[in-house]
């Protein structure tokens, strides 16, 4: 039974830990109806908290409020970085609560206002968070209907609600708004248990296309990012950086920098910074600091890294295994062995990492461009040796994330400098710092031995992925003798690596889907027909057919000279199939992508507009890692300092893009921010092969590599 609790419990554990006392919390937010909920299953949440050093389980980690003015606020630790959660979550809320879409406000990523959250990553917001939010909204509606029934003196069954107004069906003059009902009240409800979701047929907002709700702020320049916070007395800081990863500071001569008028020079151990009211002045001053380093000579570079990866003393984990590889080999008519390489790739968000820190008394407030506000809070509390509640993280808009804004070096630096100088400090990384301290997508190797019988049926699949990560390493095809092995661990990388949009999956899908096309050509079959013959998954078959229909695909054995590529895969519960057309300049090796079609099955699509934009974005961004993006390095020295040597997709690259979203309203929503990017390496590699007969085994497919591969044919 549902019970309305109006209680005065003195403490809520998660609020204590995030710094706000219960009374302050309600004082700040006023009255209304509060529904507290927990957007993950308890086990996962506890596991996550344990991993991140949070000791106590929370009762909830998001809540919504129907305020006294009838407005609906949802407080969540999720953040907005362009993925559109600010819009899609509001749609869901409006639908379940039966309020106008415009009345819903998302309050995101503020550690004082929002309950603890594990961070915005893995396309979790819609698939894991939103079902619980829907239940919370439905619960709020139930409470409001009960209040409406008491107010209007008619049973709930005689009431209907539309746009936040409850009306007596038998007397439409008898009505009351949500706002009137919540006035002067403070009602709390804590939700647990499994979500019961509203029937999709009744959706008014969900499933309809909505434009980005934050776009007016963004087209007028009003949207604030972490370096845009203007505070009285704000100092701009530049920090001394080592010339390479692994270099250790031995000597530092600050005298030249100290002579510059208006420059404050700060040293705290290895942290050396120059600060001033003017950014240009600190840019000029930092180069005056003379520093000597000792170097840890690392031999590896961007060419030898693959050898190092294969020879590393790694942990070996068989992730999946069925049948017997020896049997598979025996019954195979032909066996194909391939090795695929993938270079380090940068996130290269246009907004570099930034943080603005302010210390008032013993309270530290930091505006941080982060996908992990609560982890930033923990990091700063630990580094500054203060209790968690003394640190408040505010997350303004993020100028792109893609997994790259999960560490908080810049925030720690800003806070330390604010503490030392006694003034607010902004640390906004230069582009070179951004390229140096990025947590790159790891370089990786995939080795596949696969076999098939005379009919083209795959009989053997021995898949070995080295340092890419396991995501996307599933066979997906119906193979009787298959094994997937993941190699990881040890210190292979000469600098930091981390999650990059669909981590692991770009590399794994490139390898698997390239191998499938190699086999199809060997079998003398069209690559789409070869896939359809070897797939059992009905959903995957459906997305492949949908993509082929949209493209107007006709079968042909590759290389056909047409420049058509095909690839498919799964990520975060979503299935995708791509078909691309490319033109290859056989003299220069330059690839122009002419057209890309993608069909996607993501279950219920909350915002088709937002989804289409994410798909277009993934296709465009994915051309970069497929064709040009590659970190060049010698030991710990990163050679790419800016966009002149690290080329990301530009206007002239963009193909004609067609997207198909499968109609799966009756199924649970899956991830949408990442899946469409996973096929971009393979679909272009397969199209290049179809155009030229040259098979590329390494990403990115630079003109030089394409010309080299063409010479081999």
């Amino acid at each position: 039974m549902k019970k309305i609790i109006t209680n005065e419990k003195e403490s809520l554990t998660s609020q204590e830990r995030t710094g706000m006392k219960r009374r302050d919390f309600f004082k700040l937010l006023g009255g209304g109806i509060f529904i507290f909920f927990q957007p993950r299953d308890t086990f996962k949440l506890l596991e996550l908290q344990a991993q991140q050093g949070r000791s106590l389980p929370t009762e909830f980690n998001a809540f919504l409020q129907i305020a006294e003015d009838g407005s609906v606020n949802c407080y969540t630790g999720k953040i907005e970085m362009g993925q559109g959660a600010i819009t899609s979550l509001a749609q869901i809320m409006a639908d379940e609560l039966e309020v106008p879409f415009e009345n819903v406000k998302m309050v995101m990523g503020d550690t004082d206002l929002c309950p603890w959250d594990g961070g915005t990553n893995g396309s979790q917001t819609t698939r894991s968070f939103s079902p619980h939010m829907r239940v919370a909204a439905a619960e709020a509606k139930t409470i409001l209907m009960q209040l409406g029934s008491d107010y209007l003196h008619v049973p709930v069954s005689q009431l209907e609600v539309k746009d936040g107004i409850i009306t007596d069906i038998k007397n439409n003059k008898s009505k009351v708004s949500y706002g009137e009902l919540t006035k002067g009240k403070r009602i709390e409800k804590h939700l647990d248990g499994k979500p019961e979701l509203k029937d999709y047929i009744k959706f008014k907002y969900v499933g309809k296309p909505y434009l980005h709700q934050d776009s007016r702020l963004k087209v007028t320049g009003e949207a604030k990012f972490s370096a845009d916070i203007q505070l009285p007395g704000l100092l701009h800081a530049r920090l001394l950086r080592p010339p390479s990863h692994g270099a250790k500071l031995v000597t530092a001569d600050l005298s030249e920098a100290e002579k510059i008028k208006g420059i404050q020079v700060v040293r705290d151990g290895d942290l050396i910074a120059v600060l001033s009211d003017d950014r240009d002045k600190v840019d000029q001053a930092i180069v005056k600091v003379k520093a000597g380093y000792s170097f840890d000579e690392t031999e590896v570079d961007d060419k030898t890294i693959f050898d190092r990866i294969l020879k590393a003393n790694s942990e070996t984990n068989v992730i999946k295994s069925n049948g017997d590889l020896e049997t598979g080999r025996k019954i195979s008519d032909s066996v194909t062995e391939s090795e695929f390489h993938n270079s380090y790739v940068a996130h290269a968000t246009i907004e570099p990492h930034a943080a603005t820190a302010m210390i008032e008394g013993d309270k530290i407030t930091v505006w941080v461009s982060t996908q992990q506000p609560f982890r930033a809070q923990e990091t700063i509390a630990r580094e500054m040796n203060v209790p968690l509640e003394k640190v408040r993280i505010k997350t303004p808009f993020l100028g792109g994330g893609f997994g790259g804004k999960s560490a908080h070096k810049q925030a720690v630096e800003a806070v330390k400098l604010a503490k030392i100088t006694g003034r607010p400090v902004v640390v906004a990384w230069t582009r070179q710092e951004e390229f140096f301290y990025d947590t790159f997508r790891p370089a990786a190797v995939v080795k596949i031995t696969s076999g098939m019988d005379k009919s083209g049926k795959i009989t053997l699949w021995d898949y070995n992925t080295y340092y890419a990560g396991a995501r996307g390493s599933d066979t997906i095809y119906d193979v009787p003798n298959a094994r997937t092995t993941n190699y990881s661990g040890g210190s292979v990388h000469p600098f930091g690596t981390g999650a990059w949009r669909a981590p692991g999956n770009n590399t794994n899908t490139f390898a698997r889907e390239s191998q499938i096309n190699i086999m199809a050509s060997k079998a003398g079959m069209d690559p789409l027909e070869f896939r359809l013959m070897n797939l059992k998954d009905e959903k995957m078959i459906a997305v492949l057919k949908a993509a082929a229909d949209k493209f107007g695909y006709t079968p042909a054995r590759n290389p056909s000279g047409r420049g058509y590529g095909i690839a498919c895969g799964t990520d975060v519960g979503t299935l995708v199939a791509h078909i691309a057309e490319v033109k290859v300049d056989k003299i220069t090796g330059h690839v122009q992508v002419i057209r890309v079609v993608c069909a996607q099955d993501m279950g219920l699509c909350v915002n088709p507009q937002g989804t289409t934009i994410q798909m277009e974005g993934c296709i465009t961004m994915g051309m970069g890692y497929a064709l040009t993006e590659e970190i060049q390095f010698q030991g710990g020295d990163i050679k790419n300092h800016s966009f002149d040597t690290y080329e990301i997709p530009r206007f002239s690259w963009v193909p004609k893009i067609d997207t198909v979203i499968m109609d799966r309203k009756d199924q649970a929503p899956q991830g949408g921010g990442e899946p469409t990017i996973i096929c971009m390496g393979a679909v272009i590699a397969n199209a290049v092969y179809d155009a030229t007969g040259a098979r590329l085994y390494q990403l990115p497919m630079t003109p030089e590599r394409i010309l080299t591969a063409m010479k081999k044919t």
Binding site: S215, T220, D278, I350, F397, R431, D644
Partner: protein
């Protein structure tokens, strides 16, 4: 070292005692609080810092403020007139031509500069004119369409 520098900023005549070597980007952001103009690379490679100088799109991150002396500067904040969005801003909203929004002010300013020079750009003209502005989220398709729409509206409005 500091000198009085005069210019017209977003329609208002202004003057300030400034080090002439400061870049226009940081003067706009720090002295005038116009934070819509963004730092992206500091070397003119990405276009996030684009503003109009005498109706022409320029990279403010590499421009000494002395080069703007006695000239007209328009930033993203100066495009809204009497509460009305500029046709390019409107078209960016209509086409949802943005995601994270960080490159957006620079994109819009570059597009306005392009349309002032060439009111009827072909798709190829737009691609060529926008080539130096980088967007990591991949909003390019929509930005191109938005500029086409805005071009038509600006022409119709004249």
């Amino acid at each position: 070292m500091e000198e009085t520098i005069r210019f017209e900023l977003n329609g208002k005549k202004t003057q300030m005692l400034l080090d002439p070597n400061l870049t226009l980007l940081w003067v706009l952001r720090n002295e005038f609080g116009l934070t819509g103009t963004k730092y992206g690379c500091g070397m003119g490679f990405c276009g996030a810092c684009t503003v109009l100088l005498e109706q022409e799109a320029v990279r403010s991150c590499t421009l000494p403020v002395s080069d703007a002396a006695n000239k007209k500067i328009v930033t993203i904040e100066g495009l809204v007139l009497n509460g009305n969005l500029h046709p390019v801003q409107k078209a960016f909203m209509e086409h949802d031509a943005l995601q994270c929004g960080y490159c957006t002010p620079g994109m819009i300013m570059n597009a306005v500069g392009l349309l002032l020079k060439n009111p009827e750009p072909s798709q190829q003209d737009i691609i060529k004119g926008m080539e130096g502005n980088l967007c990591r989220c991949g909003a390019h398709v929509r930005i191109t369409k938005a500029i086409q729409t805005a071009g038509k509206e600006m022409k119709g409005g004249k």
